[in-house]
Chain length 433, copies 2
């Protein structure tokens, strides 16, 4: 049973803290295995990748088969049903339209001292996107990673997606093509991450790697971080719905289940001002759990990590929400904008009952790669910003150097960095000569 809490009860705080700190994920320690795989790929390149692909994916390839050919991509894409093609195209168009607005602007100005200052944004040259195989092989995730990279201007975008027993997911290949991906490799696991980071004879190295993956992939991303950039290591999905009593319990139940069905470690929370409504949602969840295809997963998640919390008002709801810092926050209340202003830590906010979270997973426009495990307190979802970097620019004139140089000399002296000071004073001396 999910917990049913009321902030008015004396033991609320201890139950709520338990909910916040519940360890939901039990990652197997695969770090040594992964370190070995990375070292092997670094040392032997293609040969290691081919061996590991044979071993883990039961697929024997030669180097020139690592990459999907255009003809192979074409023939896989042709298998995607027409309505899925249209849905992917609509999703890509909406994601692109949203992310185009995220492109940061360069700046340059001259200050009163005559120094010209500013910054310039440039794209990461080459990026790699990991796409899991099997059940969690989501074409929507391909769009959510690849579209921002291409909007940012990444010239070379490579995907690695394992094809166990040689079976590809046609919709993943189509999503990649729609998003403008340049290269697709049929490899997975830590060996794919190592190949992207260090390169092999066939696969050129990239500068940044993003995308979800299993424990091996996550451990490999952690290990290659520094050599390349990585995105976040995402934890299990979460949703917090804040709802008043004026909602359809079944809608809210389905919103909660749409996270719960992802993963037994997912967490679905409801905060409501109406205890009867909270109970009605629990009943609606139970009813839906009778028939949902993924009911075993959803029921386990709801049982172990779900909760309904009764609060006295929306003020209290916002305060709890800020402690949870949810990945997804759905505000099904009369004035969602007003409530959103008070909810300052959240990956994504869905305003009003007509905005189910699932819209954000596919076609809303915003990214569905979002900070989990309370990291919305300090981090943001995936965006164009993950595929660009900023170079700061400064240009002094002799006059500007005369205005600010002496302070630099003073501070260099106080920090015992003599050459720093001399590099300024040698120039000032020439001016004062």
């Amino acid at each position: 049973m999910p917990v049913f809490l009321n902030t008015a009860e004396l033991d609320f705080e201890s139950h709520f803290t338990a909910l916040l700190t519940a360890k939901r994920e039990d990652s197997p320690d695969v770090d040594d295995t992964v370190a070995g795989i990375i070292a092997d790929v670094r040392a032997r390149g293609d040969a290691a990748v081919l061996e590991l692909t044979s071993k883990f994916d039961r697929l024997d390839l030669s180097s020139d088969q690592l990459r999907f050919t255009e003809a192979e991509i074409e023939s896989e894409c042709a298998k995607v049903p027409e309505d899925e093609v249209r849905a992917l195209e609509q999703a890509a168009q909406r994601i692109r339209a949203y992310h185009v607005r995220q492109m940061p602007e360069d700046a340059s100005w001259t200050d009163p001292e005559g120094a010209t200052l500013g910054w310039r944004w440039t794209a990461v040259s080459a990026a790699g996107l990991y796409v899991p195989g099997g059940l969690a092989s989501y074409p929507s995730s391909v769009l959510m990673n690849a579209v921002p990279a291409k909007v940012a201007g990444v010239e070379r975008l490579a995907i690695c997606v394992p094809t166990p027993d040689g079976v590809a997911n046609p919709a993943v290949l189509l999503a990649a093509r729609i998003a403008g991906v340049d290269e697709i490799y049929r490899i997975g696991g830590a060996q794919a991450i190592a190949a992207l980071a260090y390169g092999t004879e066939t696969i050129a190295p990239v500068d940044k790697i993003t995308g979800p993956g299993n424990a091996f992939v996550a451990a490999a991303k952690r290990r290659v971080f520094g050599k390349v950039g990585i995105d976040m290591i995402a934890g299990p999905s979460e949703i917090l719905v804040i709802a008043d009593g004026d909602n359809d319990p079944d809608w809210i139940a389905l919103d909660l289940m749409s996270q719960a069905e992802h993963d037994e470690s997912a967490q679905s929370l409801l905060i409501t001002t109406d205890a009867d409504f909270g109970k009605a949602v629990m009943q609606a969840v139970d009813a839906r759990l009778q028939t949902l295809e993924r009911r075993a997963i959803a029921a386990a998640s709801w049982r172990d990590f779900g909760a309904v919390i009764i609060v006295k008002d929306l003020e209290e709801a916002a305060a709890l929400s800020n402690r949870i810092a949810p990945e997804h926050l759905e505000l099904c209340v009369a004035e969602p904008d007003k409530l959103a202003e008070k909810c300052i830590h959240a990956g994504a906010i869905f305003l009003g009952a007509w905005t189910p979270e699932a819209i954000g997973d596919y076609v809303g426009g915003p990214n569905h790669v979002l900070p989990t495990a309370r990291s919305a307190r300090f981090s943001s979802g995936l965006s164009v910003m993950d595929f660009v970097k900023r170079t700061t620019m400064a240009r002094m004139t002799p006059e500007a150097l005369q205005a600010v140089g002496p302070a630099a000399e003073t501070l260099a002296r106080s920090e015992s960095l003599e050459a720093h000071g001399l590099s300024v004073s040698a120039r000032l001396e020439k001016l004062n000569r």
Copy 2:
């Protein structure tokens, strides 16, 4: 002797690759020790911090002495010479003026389907800044970390700075006060990072930790990452100067030495179109190495990792610079803006011979915390962006849901996520009823 290379020579490529891949830092493996310290602070809070401070800093404190009082800060600040006070104030003012311009803007728009989309930036609530003790205790670094945090709107900014044998650096405390830091604790090492991340009886936990530190601090930051956000783990400093023959060799020599004097692992590189000028710079470096206070460090860095590279033209210089992706890039050429356009991977660019890199360390305005070890290919220097996070916002209307909902249903079905699809179709059914 630093290497002297010429791109025209046959073995250039192998020498250049060796330069690029030289392992400059030999970090001791302190991870087990650090894991123990963090576990101890989590378990015993203040008591552990106090014991470790006694052990490592030879300083016996009680819990209520962990934090500097206002009176203590006041009395330390009074020790700072007047010219340093003015220099720190000028530096802070310039850093603030630059970083204020980095504040990202919220966005909100309604698209043709009637969906209102956008995003909102909010500040990290609480941040912690680590400041090393001893030789590398730089007040300028306090400004470079604390000013952007305060510009971003961080409400609670705490500093940890060790005071070995009870000796504080007055300029560090003054820089903290000028930057508006809220709390200063006299603790250091992995125990300080653990206290900031997990909190103790005296120190409330923060959401993000930034700032440089030794191997223990770096390992502790890596370990608490996820629980809190961290900035980059910086490697040894680097500079690349691209200069034509029309420069004063002594200026360029001093610019090279201003990085070399930081650390024996620092790297100073010169690329020039003029071989005679390159030799003149090497002679000027040798002359300066006779007298520099930190000549032992600077000479070791120059000897082990320095290089002068002769190129046939600036086009070639830019191409090499992009492979190096330097932390600091100084362009001492006739048309630095033109050359800068071609240098797409760099942490900071200093345009023209009147802009020595040291200006950027103190009073230029841009941040001096910059990506090292070729990570400018995929990351940026510290900025206001490190202390804010973005929440994406979406609000559907019934009409918007009718326009985009069917695509979400299709994609949910193709990904076998039934509840996702049902959360949309339950709403659409009501509209179509």
